[in-house]
Symmetry: C2
């Protein structure tokens, strides 16, 4: 995934789209391997798009497709692919009808949102009409979370996932340093699962949530049970 | 910045460290140019560290320095630099004293947290003792937000920032498509500022927060005033 926008890098906005996409891909059985966040800078966007599309099956982008001067994503994607870009008639017609129905001017700025690289397929925007697009394995979506969320559903419908990744969490009320040895043994025994340890401190006491991830529920339960057996609840708790 | 951890990419955890670091760097006058998020995978971590340290002044990492089997960051950083890594006496002593004082065993797993690449400087951990470290221009910190936050302060104290980046926001109750033309003119006139437009929909009405960023407060106010003059409040609002 590529997140485009100064507002994330300046700390003004806390990311929501990465978190949303990560969750939906996991449910769908697609593994999110890498996310990059870059600023509204053409060279940075083009370099990141080219690196990601070469090394992953699909690339999802978020941000920079509105009407204002800082919305340069569509032109950068076109440049990354070496594809011509101009206002496309079907996208223009969608937007023209939308603004006509609302008695709002379809001015030059709004027409920019109909700029689509040659060869791209439009991504439906049921929220505010201005479309995203897919070009090759790159899916270009809006940064506004409501619109992004809607576009993700359109794109995911076209992507075949593997078996959805399931997870089981076990809370262990011991410090990670006590858990680590038995956990490493468990990871070796259940090497078909991914096992993560997420420590916390609560009311001054150390603990960790151990998360087992895999595609078979019964296998996950088996691993969770083995972990619970290694760490029975402490007396009095 | 490099965020290391499956929990972000699986959607289990929503990022907090990137948001925190972004905000603190902005206050300090340091520009965050890029963030990458990778999984707990050695090849991915090493490749990202090497790419980022070659192209940026400083690299901040978050995650993967605890005692469990999935904590491989320190070894990956060492591999990226081609530096030897082993348990270091000063780090070991810090941890040994910490666990002795709490009557907790300083076992093999916990001793792993004293593995520090040759040539690194320790980063103080006032929360849970296990140190981070800086090697070259790479600052390696914990993923637990409370610990990350504390380590960031230690590291930032050693980094010279530029003039802090200030911002002024103006809310305009018009659609971005109406704002875009005048905003582009404003961006040309105030080309020493960065100007971002962040659209929203509220109660069915379109609007946008226009954010001016720069280092001089009076210049920001001047730009904000010019924007307000272009879009006087609508009648009745």
């Amino acid at each position: 995934m590529l997140v485009i926008g100064d507002e994330i890098l300046s700390g003004r906005t806390r990311d929501a789209n990465m978190h949303h996409l990560a969750g939906r891909l996991t449910e769908k059985g697609v593994t999110l391997r890498e996310v990059r966040v870059v600023s509204d800078d053409a060279d940075a966007i083009i370099a990141a798009v080219n690196a990601l599309r070469a090394s992953h099956d699909h690339v999802f982008t978020s941000g920079g497709i509105g009407p204002t001067h800082d919305d340069i994503t569509a032109d950068c994607i076109a440049a990354a692919f070496g594809a011509p870009i101009d206002v496309r008639e079907d996208a223009r017609a969608l937007l023209a009808a939308h603004y006509a129905a609302r008695d709002m001017p379809f001015n030059t700025a709004r027409q920019r949102m109909a700029r689509i690289p040659d060869g791209a397929t439009l991504i439906d925007n049921p929220v505010s009409v201005a479309p995203g697009f897919s070009l090759g394995n790159v899916h270009v979506m809006a940064g506004v979370p409501k619109v992004f969320t809607a576009m993700v559903e359109s794109v995911l419908a076209t992507i075949d996932g593997g078996a959805p990744l399931l997870s089981v969490s076990v809370r262990v009320d011991r410090g990670e340093g006590e858990i680590a040895g038995p956990l490493a043994a468990l990871a070796a025994r259940f090497d078909d699962l991914s096992i993560g340890s997420y420590p916390f401190v609560q009311d001054g006491a150390y603990g960790a949530n151990i998360v087992f991830r895999g595609t078979g529920q019964s296998r996950l339960e088996e691993a969770a049970e083995a972990l619970r057996a290694s760490f029975p609840a402490k007396e009095g708790t």
